[in-house]
Symmetry: D2
Subunit: 252 residues, 4 copies
């Protein structure tokens, strides 16, 4: 048994800080670095890539809607050609910092409202898959397990990683519980660790109302911007190690 | 005798248009494409690179200060590490569109206030040279002939191209006449063509007050955003051809 | 018979120009001035208000989604409190230039994707109506004739002006023909003038496929960003004058 | 003896938080609210004004250079008309939230690099003074004690408040010690309280190298974005109260 452990990082902007990347990144196997559209200025991108490089953590791009004030959490109705060009641009900017730091860019994972839209909208999913392929056909596309984005990535001939969440509650239909509803986020590190282990070891998750749902995942996400992200990451790693699960980056 | 002919292009932003890139680019040998900081959104960058690719015109990056409303024409007091990271980021974004279009990125030329600052400020010049070298040591750095940027580029071991202006008036000390003064810009295509020819064939330029100034240039700039840019470019090319000057892109 | 004639103006951004406000504004009775979110920087706002003041044209605010690259033409999924605050902020910024120029702010008309969304979405319509009322209950709210925004404005106790378009084609159900379809925009000034006159004098419009549709309007819009806007405005004014229609700003 | 106690607040941006405004504002007599250019989105502006209104703290505008990534701490070479228009726009946006909350806007204090530039550059100082007067001649202009901005405000006929800093070290010539040098910021709340008291009660401050410098101040600034701002504000208020100094907002 093996699993990748990822988090969204580099989501600061100039003087504004979100997340404790120095402490969180060493606990990950994959770091999704914000690309300047929803968060992340050039210097933050550069520093974040270097932290990941120093700890030998796989670097991925984390493109989002171009909307700083909304932190990429508001849907923006971009035309397919606009969205494709935006993603090529965002990932290209990050790629320059990867080459500069001597590391390979390994994967691409969309952020926030773009991630959610791509999970259910095949047109948006296809735009993302096409953009990723244009940048490099050897990039791994990360998407919500079982989503339209996963299908679009496979149809485009990309390697795809299906993602599940250690610290988010699920509905009984396997979808993520909306952040607008109570109990959507697991703040307790033990609960997150238990959920992580169930997903990896049993291929299922227990929904917030007690239903067991099948779920297979190649990578587990920890939210870097929540309080206690570092503690959750530690708890998840400990639980996985104790159960004999190897925590390894996605295969290229 | 040979010379490169360049212009700043891709300086539109969404619905706002500046320059007639479709008609101007085919007349150039080098196109400096705006990178999203002072002008140019991702879709504009993509389209501009493709126009240049279609006409076999060498593509360069044209990074500027991050200031859309000021069009990169206002100095912004960025720290050296901020400036370096910004240039790596801007050029990296463009590079993605070059790879996508199957063309090589050939040169980097700073825009507006950044170009002018780098011509006289060795600290800013060094930041630009270092950023360009970090992206690729085989890129050509374009700078005002005889400027600090040219020196910084050489000191960094980069290939450097010295630039002169077909359509800008010069002062008797060899500096460019400030745009705030009358007669700073040559709108007459014949006058621009004559100045271009004098620079290339005689290695000198006549200042606005009649003084002959020595000047050697590897590349001549036509301003893409002035009315009549296309006519000026045509007149310059005709004059150079008639005089037996080869108009060729910078050597890699 | 009377009608107001409005256009969207002040939609330049720094060095980028859209529209010929100096020539168009004197032909209007109401000028909708962009507020910096989808277009318009502070200096453009200041200058546009002063042009309107000089020609005694009523000034209104033209708030849009905060999206310069998309020119406010892409829907952005803002929460109601975000949208309300954004509109209060945008209109407040313009109000400062109105007071400075010694003119009253008379009306508010949403831009682009926000206008279209508010025409059909009662939640967005209510947010706009509430924001306008918070700024001043004596402002006139302009909305598409017969739309949700008109209803929301009335429900909020605001004076409402229903708008029709001189230079846009209509569908047989009274909606505007989508800009993605051929024939959506009338570029012929005579056709626009005829449509304007039919709307005002007969209370109806002929759809692009020949159906007569009832339509009552307090104000007619000319698109300031189309080529020929000045010619269309002149033709519309002539046709209305010749038919004895008074062209007057909305009543306060 | 009386003094005003101010801090810069509302400097969050969407999901990014700076400062603990809910706890800090009640300890102030004047709150300088960021206006969206260097920090502060519309919803943050609205909420910050409401916190101040609830605690009966005087509201002022805190305009800065339009540079989110640089947090307004990098000089931007704006032309005088651009700067004036930007300030009118920024303050106008805040004014709308003040009217909406039923409070008066009382003062204007520039932020960061703009504050520092205006302290020494008479042209920038004059632009700020003119902009403030255009918005309302009854606004109080806050500037560094003894600076060019104070002179420009007086020359424009504005009421001026001279500012000193409780938590910043001074040089022996009365200028602020640069943030790039060690010891520029006082993190110890007792030290800040002692400095505040010396300024108010003795009209002087002891420089970082032990020289006593004369200094008169109408208002004392606490930096809202430093750790311990709330503790410093409490210590300063206690020390002032114990010494019989009245802490009151600036007189209108």
């Amino acid at each position: 048994m093996r699993i990748d452990l990822n988090a969204d990082v580099g989501e600061s902007l100039g003087a504004w800080r979100i997340g404790d990347d120095e402490r969180l990144i060493p606990l990950l196997t994959s770091a999704n670095v914000a690309c300047g559209a929803h968060a992340g200025d050039p210097l933050t991108m550069e520093r974040t890539v270097r932290i990941a490089a120093r700890h030998d953590v796989a670097v991925g791009a984390h493109p989002g809607y171009p909307d700083l004030v909304g932190f990429g959490r508001r849907e923006l109705d971009m035309a397919p050609d606009e969205l494709e060009a935006s993603i090529v641009h965002q990932v290209g900017g990050l790629l320059a910092f990867c080459r500069d730091a001597g590391v390979q860019l390994r994967h691409v994972k969309a952020h926030g409202a773009l991630y959610n839209r791509a999970a259910r909208d095949p047109v948006v999913a296809e735009s993302i898959a096409k953009a990723v392929k244009r940048i490099s056909p050897s990039l791994v596309l990360v998407g919500l397990a079982g989503s339209e984005l996963v299908s679009a990535g496979r149809a485009a001939g990309l390697r795809v990683a299906e993602e599940a969440f250690a610290d988010r509650a699920y509905e009984s239909d396997g979808s993520l519980r909306s952040r607008r509803l109570p109990g959507a986020v697991l703040h307790d590190s033990d609960a997150a660790a238990r959920q992580a282990l169930t997903i990896v070891a049993e291929g299922s998750v227990t929904s917030h109302d007690g239903v067991r749902v099948s779920l297979r995942a190649d990578t587990l996400c920890i939210h870097g911007d929540t309080t206690g992200a570092v503690e959750i990451a530690k708890a998840v790693r400990s639980a996985l190690s104790a159960a004999g699960v190897e925590v390894l980056a996605l295969e290229a």
